[in-house]
């Protein structure tokens, strides 16, 4: 198909397709003339993935390039999972340091919490994992707010996170031999985050409403208010 049809099929404007080409996110089409190229299903699939990463995943162009490079290089299902996982941006921003000494203490305390958690969970993860660094940053920021995430609380969350990860890998396993493994791995690893966050908020909302209903009103068992 021509670039105009590729644009219609995927809903990605021609200018964006050219931009993704220049940025190296999308492979070249098959040249059919000096200024014409023919695109195929692999381009449609890749464009859908780029769109999903940049919109649903909220990834920058640079982060998208890293994930796609990992997808293209991986040579096994597990390799794909790990490569994509490591290429994902860490979802936590770091506030500027207030006081160097306090900063160092908070950082050391957070690092100790993470090390304790990894040991308690018997997780076989090297300290160089970007997720270890990310969690350390997140816990340090939470400590600054006096948030009570002591190791024993963290373990309770981590146990549930492990159950979720098992579901994730079951999903990925179903695509073990499919050419779409990389795409599905991206979906599982990068794009299901917002879904989980929304499920958690829905569950929180239900628990709060249920408690309020039980305590404050008589319509126990009634449907949710409109």
């Amino acid at each position: 198909m021509k670039i105009s049809e590729l644009s219609r099929t995927t809903g990605v404007p021609v200018a964006s397709i050219k931009y993704f080409r220049r940025e190296g996110l999308l492979p070249a089409g098959r040249a059919t003339a000096a200024t014409l190229a023919e695109y195929g299903d692999e381009h449609v699939q890749r464009l859908r993935l780029i769109k999903a990463l940049t919109t649903l995943g909220g990834l920058s162009i640079a982060a998208t390039r890293e994930v796609l490079t990992a997808v293209d290089r991986a040579d096994s299902a597990d390799g794909t999972l790990k490569a994509i996982s490591y290429a994902l941006p860490v979802p936590v921003a770091q506030a500027p340091a207030v006081d160097e000494d306090e900063e160092a203490r908070a950082g050391a305390a957070a690092a100790a919490d993470v090390a304790g958690l990894v040991a308690a969970m018997d997780w076989r993860i090297p300290a160089t994992s970007p997720h270890v660094r990310g969690l350390t940053t997140a816990l340090r920021e939470l400590r600054r707010l006096d948030a009570d995430y002591r190791p024993e609380r963290l373990v309770a969350y981590a146990e549930l996170a492990r159950s979720i990860a098992r579901l994730d890998l079951e999903r990925a396993a179903a695509f073990e031999d499919a050419p779409s493994l990389a795409e599905q791995a991206v979906v599982v690893l990068a794009l299901s985050g917002p879904m989980l966050e929304l499920l958690r908020r829905l569950a929180q909302e239900d628990l709060v409403r249920r408690r309020t209903t039980f305590e404050d009103s008589e319509d126990v068992g009634a449907d949710a208010p409109a």
Copy 2:
């Protein structure tokens, strides 16, 4: 304290403090002269919260203002939780429509999935909840990628999300009567998301590494590779 000391204590530059004042995020200090104001602990606390929301939470100034307004207006613990929860931005971007008809079909299918899930979980949540709308958008985007999140799979995730929400509310309950309830609620609802996402990635990484170790190498039981 003077604005310069407020800046030193919180690590927020004076120019940013003035900006937050102008944007209505931070209340005025007590005027002590025509051009001088005195700031107190409540300003320190509020500035820490603003910094946490904009850095760790990644919220925009507009979203931060909505959350803070909700915090200030809420008159009960549950009211605070719900107000903050509703003020949080929905963590999912919507890709531009490709085809209006296909869009409408995918949207209707996603809405049906969400309604089925809410019924299956016996969640008492009105269809007007921003989290219902957010989850519908997320599922529609996942459907576009042919991701297999059928209702029965969603229920498994939702059950785990409910367990996490119970932990969240236990944490919030510990602060029921504290003046810091609002701050802690923000931490639980808005800022623990990145922590959970990192725990999930760590658990995924462990499961993949463990599988690979068992299958491919002889050092079963050894520590994680450096």
